[in-house]
């Protein structure tokens, strides 16, 4: 069910209960129950994410369908979270400790998350660019048997593909400079270093740094605070950081150096985040594996594309026309075409979903800001 519907029904459930409440202070038991429900639900959602969706043939986690599920989970948890915070409180609770300190922190993280959404959306354009290049190669190699012309064409496209993937990923140190997007090296002007990618952020912006900043100060509430609203705020913050982290791990965006080093807090008692920690570890493993080869993002479809691309490139480099079909190469080409098709189908909906997440974060942030201003003692306007 779409996240907004879920929100509505959850809210409906809460408001019925609200009417049964006698006094604000006597709300405590209700609150505890709601908090427990929330963390249980979070745990369930993320446990489901531990296994990839059914129709996905990849062994790595971060595929396009999985990312969409991840974002759905985010939207769902976010709706619950907001309902809990805003429940019957107007602006009251938000402007009192500890929320008066914790919510602004969350809002800071929200702003960074918004920038990451934009960066990732931009990064998906790069992915689409890879897809286009791969499609050239795949369609060239579809012919049976393959001629010299097609092989060369595929080789050119695959070279561009490999180059693009390595340029877009600053983690990789071995940038292929042998072949450029030109078919020969030209003297003079060639400023077109990063073909197909329009950089939307300043050179100094770093996705990894954003995530790291988001993750610092993520401290679980202790003692009395832990049984109050500080808990869901913490949970939501962790979710937000994790989701953004996963997106950046998957999709090429500017400067992901040091992403792996992002410190995730590991509390002992709380079990709602076991799955999240599990996912974090799993993805971290994949990252380590890939870091040696220097991949442009962990997105499963992209990794597949890269692997097939390498294979086919070897094939095309050693190609000699002999009028017979190389079955292996043909199979790879078909797989590549299939991967492109998955991308074609999945990228736009993923971008739409990210945009939805963007809007939701904006909406919640606006509401929280309003509540903070209402409940604030002084009306000094803050920018």
């Amino acid at each position: 069910m779409p996240a907004t519907d879920y929100h509505a029904s959850f809210l409906g459930r809460l408001s019925i209960r609200r009417n049964q409440v006698i006094a604000m202070d006597g709300n405590h038991e209700q609150e505890l129950e709601d908090l427990e429900l929330f963390s249980k639900h979070v745990s369930e959602c993320f446990t489901e994410l531990l296994s990839p969706p059914d129709d996905v043939p990849f062994d790595t986690l971060l595929s396009i369908p999985w990312l969409r599920k991840l974002l759905d989970v985010f939207l769902c948890c976010e709706a619950e979270f907001k309902a809990i915070i805003m429940m019957g409180n107007d602006s009251f609770q938000i402007s009192k400790p500890p929320l008066d300190r914790l919510i602004p922190d969350l809002l800071d993280r929200s702003v960074k998350a918004l920038d990451i959404c934009n960066a990732v959306t931009n990064g998906l354009d790069s992915v689409r660019h890879y897809q286009k290049l791969a499609e050239i190669a795949a369609s060239a190699l579809e012919q049976k048997p393959i001629g010299d012309g097609q092989a060369r064409r595929a080789k050119k496209a695959l070279n561009s593909l490999m180059l693009a993937m390595s340029i877009d990923d600053k983690d990789c140190s071995a940038v292929k400079t042998t072949e450029r997007s030109w078919s020969f090296s030209r003297r003079g002007v060639n400023k077109d270093r990063s073909p197909g990618h329009f950089r939307q952020v300043a050179k100094s912006w770093s996705a990894a740094k954003q995530i790291q900043t988001m993750a610092c100060n993520l401290v679980p509430p202790r003692g009395a605070e832990a049984s109050g609203l500080a808990s869901p705020v913490y949970i939501m913050s962790v979710i937000m950081v994790f989701v953004m982290w996963a997106l950046v791990a998957a999709i090429p965006c500017q400067d992901r150096n040091g992403l792996l080093a992002t410190h995730f807090p590991v509390p002992k008692q709380l079990n709602w985040d076991q799955s999240i920690i599990g996912l974090h570890e799993k993805i971290g493993e994949e990252w380590k594996k890939k870091e040696k080869k220097g991949a442009a993002g962990l997105l499963a479809e992209m990794q597949k594309m890269e692997k097939l691309g390498h294979n086919l490139m070897e094939f095309t480099e050693s190609f000699q026309f002999h009028g017979e079909t190389d079955e292996k190469a043909a199979a790879h080409a078909a797989e590549l075409a299939e991967t492109c098709r998955r991308m074609e189908e999945g990228l736009l909906p993923l971008q739409v979903k990210i945009r939805e997440v963007f809007h939701r974060i904006v909406r919640t942030r606006t509401e929280f800001l309003h509540a903070l201003d209402q409940g604030g003692k002084s009306s000094a306007p803050l920018v």
């Binding site: 107007d90 602006s91 702003v111 960074k112 918004l114 920038d115 934009n118 959306t121 931009n122 354009d125 660019h129 286009k132 290049l133 499609e135 048997p145 001629g147 010299d148 012309g149 097609q150 060369r152 064409r153 050119k156 496209a157 561009s160 997007s181 030109w182 078919s183 020969f184 090296s185 030209r186 002007v189 400023k191 077109d192 073909p195 197909g196 329009f198 950089r199 939307q200 952020v201 300043a202 912006w205 954003q210 026309f321 009028g323 971008q351 809007h359 904006v362 942030r365 606006t366 800001l369 309003h370 201003d373 209402q374 003692k377 002084s378 009306s379 000094a380 306007p381 803050l382 920018v383």
Partner: protein
């Protein structure tokens, strides 16, 4: 070298064509790498294109004549032709890229000047006038909404003229366009469409990037924008508005035209695809700035720039829809519409935050001298400016002000009867509500004066200022309405009356007749001691009032005069008559000068000292006349 035209000599035609293609195979020869065909020699370029055509023809012929040859040979032939085609396509791709790069510099600034159109007619020529007299005092009252609304929008005619409608320019010379067209045709008909789009997109994108830099479009993140001071953002917004107009109406429109020209012969889907490939990223980057502004934290001083941005985007919307009219550009149109609606929401939100902020404005330090409170100035200047933006805001503000409150049940919110405000637009209701709330707050502030008279004076000053401001702006006056204006006028007049009562009743009480006569007799039975007391008390009170109230201030000259006259009208005749009736009794006793200290003229002069706002030495309130 001429290609033979004899169709029967297919092979010869093919062979010579093949030769040309192979000669220009850049992977094979140094010479081929050194030069670009289309740069070098028009004839050579034509020959090359003809050669490509010839090869393409062979390809279709070869597939037709497949049946006639042995399978293996056919495959061989086909492969050879394909190979030649690939070489040609690779070459053409490079030529294509080269031509594009040669003509892909940033948009010339000349084309940004629109000599035919007039300069801006945006509603942003505003100057928030501060009353000059007391602007320095404001800085001392800091715990309220900071008041630096100096919206001095200078006319921008020195840089870009306004771009008021779509105006396509030629981004490259016609010859280049026709060359590109010729190459594109061959590439696409050989099935190399994807490569064509890729090359086109990547080169044109970097051209747009240069244009963006020239237009001053920055790559700021949302985080950056939230951190910047609003004043800095204001100039960025101004710049963005100018740049956006150029981008949409000239830059993007011209790119679209270029795509249409180059891919004219091959159908609209393709030129659409190329156009989107080129401008999608830049368009999103352009809008990201406006989006970031639309979600920034709301505070009152942001209202007007946000309205400017809203209006600019509103104005651009039809052009955005016309430039981005294909299915694949849905997301851009949608984003523009989303931003517009967020800006509208932000404007509404700011207005209601503003109202709340006025209500809650907590400063308790009474303004010295009972003069106009900085809050009053700020609010009235603010709503004058709002009335300048009336056209936009009337569309945006759709609901009545929320007068029902969280603080309900008690006296902590003002009241507004909507019944008598029938037929007013929501915007007008908001403005009236703002004035209501302002007054309410001022009432609260007036209670911090220990002296009740000063409290009344304070109210009088401030409400009068409100009335003057409303009268001074025709739009504001029209929205507030004369009914409410009358109410306000009545209010400050009543405050004046209350002030007079509070101060002068007791002073004039000293000059009453009762209690001075002893026994029944009228002429002679005057209690000298009582009389002396009266004079002493009167003098003391007067001196005290004079000492205090000369430091009070009524900034408005006319109001000051009126109040002084009103005081005089009561004080002077009363004193004159008192003196007239009783001076002889004092003068007949000892030390009359201790009791009759002041003449009528002295009093008249003294009244002139009132409400000037600076202390007059007590010495001055003395006899000037003998």
């Amino acid at each position: 070298m001429e290609l033979p035209e004899n169709p029967n000599k297919d092979n010869n035609g093919y062979e010579s064509a093949e030769k040309i293609i192979l000669r220009w195979d850049s992977t094979a020869s140094e010479e081929a790498r050194e030069k670009m065909i289309f740069e070098t020699d028009r004839h050579e370029a034509d020959r090359y294109l003809q050669a490509v055509d010839e090869i393409q023809r062979s390809l279709s012929n070869a597939s037709i004549s497949n049946n006639n040859n042995a399978a293996a040979a056919a495959v061989d032939d086909q492969s050879k032709v394909n190979s030649t085609i690939q070489i040609a396509m690779a070459r053409l791709e490079d030529e294509f890229r080269n031509i594009l790069m040669t003509h892909s510099s940033a948009l010339e600034t000349d084309s940004l000047f629109d000599p035919s159109s007039s300069s801006f007619s945006t509603p942003s020529h505003h100057e928030l006038e501060e009353d000059d007299a007391v602007s320095n005092e404001d800085n001392s009252h800091d715990d309220l909404l900071q008041l630096q609304l100096q919206h001095c929008e200078s006319s921008d005619s020195s840089t870009y003229r306004s771009t008021s409608s779509i105006r396509e320019v030629d981004l490259m010379p016609a010859e280049a366009v026709s060359d590109l067209q010729a190459i594109a045709m061959r590439m696409i008909s050989s099935g190399y469409l994807r490569e064509c789009i890729q090359v086109y997109g990547s080169v044109r994108k970097s051209a747009i990037d240069s244009s963006f830099r020239k237009l001053g479009i920055e790559k700021l993140s949302i985080g950056d924008i939230q951190r910047l001071e609003w004043v800095a953002l204001e100039s960025k917004i101004r710049r963005w508005i100018r740049a956006a107009k150029v981008c949409i109406r000239i830059l993007f429109a011209s790119e679209k035209k270029l795509c249409e020209q180059i891919f004219e012969c091959v159908g609209t889907n393709i030129d659409d695809a190329c156009f989107m490939e080129t401008v999608k990223g830049p368009a999103i980057q352009l809008f990201n700035f406006a989006e970031a502004i639309s979600i920034s934290r709301r505070s009152p001083e942001k209202l007007f720039k946000i309205l400017d941005l809203h209006d600019a985007l509103m104005d651009l919307l039809p052009d955005i829809e016309s430039v981005f009219d294909s299915k694949s550009s849905d997301s851009i149109r949608v984003q523009a519409a989303e931003i517009l609606s967020r800006l509208a929401e932000a404007a509404r939100g700011i207005l209601s935050e503003f109202e709340g902020a006025i209500l809650r404005e907590p400063s308790r330090v009474p303004v010295p001298g009972g003069t106009i409170h900085p809050l009053t100035r700020y609010v009235m200047n603010y709503i004058s400016l709002i009335s300048d933006y009336k056209q936009t805001l009337i569309e945006l503000i759709m609901s009545k002000p929320s007068t029902g409150s969280r603080y309900s049940g008690d006296q902590s919110t003002p009241d507004m009867e909507f019944a008598e405000l029938e037929g007013k637009t929501p915007l007008a209701l908001h403005l009236i509500w703002i004035i209501v709330v302002l007054q309410f707050n001022l009432e609260g502030k007036s209670k911090h004066y220990r002296d009740a008279s000063l409290a009344h004076l304070f109210i009088m000053n401030n409400v009068h200022y409100i009335v003057q401001k409303v009268k001074g702006s025709p739009e504001l006056r029209e929205m507030i309405g004369d009914d409410y204006l009358r109410k306000l006028t009545g209010k400050f007049r009543q405050a004046a009356t209350s002030y007079q009562r509070a101060t002068w009743v007791s002073v004039l009480y000293c000059l009453r007749d009762e209690g001075l006569h002893v026994s029944g007799s009228f002429s002679s039975g005057v209690s000298k001691s009582a009389l002396r007391e009266r004079f002493k008390t009167f003098n003391a009170m007067l001196e005290e009032v004079h000492r205090t109230q000369t430091t009070w201030l009524i900034p408005d000259t006319q109001l000051r005069e009126e109040l002084r006259i009103s005081i005089s009208e009561k004080l002077i005749p009363a004193y004159r008559s008192f003196l007239g009736r009783f001076r002889s009794h004092i003068e007949s006793g000892k030390h009359p000068e201790n009791y009759i200290k002041y003449s009528v003229e002295d009093l008249e002069t003294a009244v002139l000292d009132f409400f000037e706002g600076f202390p007059v030495s007590h010495q001055n309130l003395r006899r000037r006349s003998q």
